[in-house]
């Protein structure tokens, strides 16, 4: 039985794995026009998600390095 003190158990995807996707969903939701050439669709499949999966790792790594650098600077 879940109690008040326990956080609700929703499924927990790997945080790094989805965070970038979610950030883009929300940050770009506010009326940003995503350019035609970005939302490429091939045979009826929206390729933005596919493309994002490919670049996800490199961006997450770049950001982690960036954050680590900042922390070092602040010390």
């Amino acid at each position: 039985m879940p109690t008040d003190s326990e956080p609700i158990t929703l499924s927990e995807p790997g945080e790094d794995e989805i965070s970038l996707l979610e950030i883009l969903d929300h940050v770009l939701n506010a009326g940003v026009v995503i350019h035609g050439s970005l939302v490429i669709s091939l045979a009826g499949v929206d390729l933005v998600y596919v493309g994002l999966n490919v670049i996800l790792t490199s961006v997450e790594t770049a950001l982690r390095n960036l954050n680590a650098e900042e922390k070092r600077r602040l010390k």
């Binding site: 609700i8 929703l10 995807p13 950001l63």
Partner: protein, 257 residues
């Protein structure tokens, strides 16, 4: 020396992250900068006083950033990195005070242009603040729990065939015709103060059957979690619910434009 052309060229453009109220209700002084770095990865973010408001801005270079923005928006890798920087700043401010997030890529030619623009929108801004103060944006996604059919993964003989199979998989979605999903959406909408469609970017996630974004008053956080918990329990093994947030109210401020 006083060359006007030169002056225009060296003026730094301002990237706007969002707008807060200048003073907190209790009279304490609002913070003036963020620890997160600016959108260009170099410039510091500061709070510029604009009448009753505080504009969260950083300098960006006219040529390499402002003028290249449109082209860069088509570059997924650039967009991803810069969206994260945008979120880091807006998220840091939102954790301390209400902020009306600006659209990603909002740039002003200078301070004068920004001040004029904000002054002209002060009424609309005040209204939006009333709506978003003490509320958070939450994303909700529902996934089908069935394992992907192995045939779809392996039988493609060409790239085109693979994409066609993928398209067929995506089209199988019950586009909210499922009464269970409608019940879920209605239950969430009852607790939330507003809802918006979402998922421009992640719409093609495998097994995703439904998603939406909600503005939830913090005073109703418990009820919100209760509704989610109930459906997690009811749908155990059938559908998986993913919750993401709290986000700054990105999806609920378009009328401040």
């Amino acid at each position: 020396m006083a060359n006007p052309t030169r002056k225009v060229n060296t003026e730094k453009a301002l990237y706007l992250y969002g707008i807060s109220f200048a003073a907190k209700k209790n009279g304490s002084k609002a913070p003036q900068k963020t620890s997160s770095v600016g959108i260009d990865g170099v410039s510091a973010v500061s709070a510029l006083a604009c009448g009753d408001f505080l504009c969260w801005v950083s300098h960006v270079d006219q040529a390499s950033f402002a003028q290249a923005l449109e082209r860069n928006m088509e570059n997924l890798e650039w967009l991803a990195l810069h969206s994260v920087r945008h979120q880091q700043v807006v998220g840091e401010v939102a954790a301390q005070m209400p902020i009306v997030p600006a659209r990603f890529g909002t740039i002003f030619s200078g301070e004068t242009a920004l001040l004029e623009n904000v002054a002209g929108r002060s009424k609309a801004l005040a209204k939006v603040f009333d709506r978003i103060a003490n509320a958070d944006e939450w994303g909700v996604k529902v996934f089908a729990e069935k394992a992907a059919s192995p045939a779809a993964q392996t039988s493609a003989r060409s790239g085109k065939e693979y994409l066609q199979q993928k398209a067929a998989q995506i089209k199988q979605r019950p586009e909210r015709a499922d009464p269970e999903l409608e019940k879920f959406a209605a239950a969430l909408e009852k607790v939330a103060s507003a809802s918006a469609p979402s998922g421009k970017v992640s719409g093609a996630q495998p097994s995703l059957v439904w998603q939406a974004t909600f503005l939830v008053p913090r005073s109703r956080q418990k009820q919100w979690e209760k509704v989610l918990s109930e459906f997690v329990e009811q749908w155990n093994g059938l559908r998986r619910i993913e919750l993401n947030g709290p986000w700054p109210p990105y999806s609920f401020v378009s009328d401040a434009d």
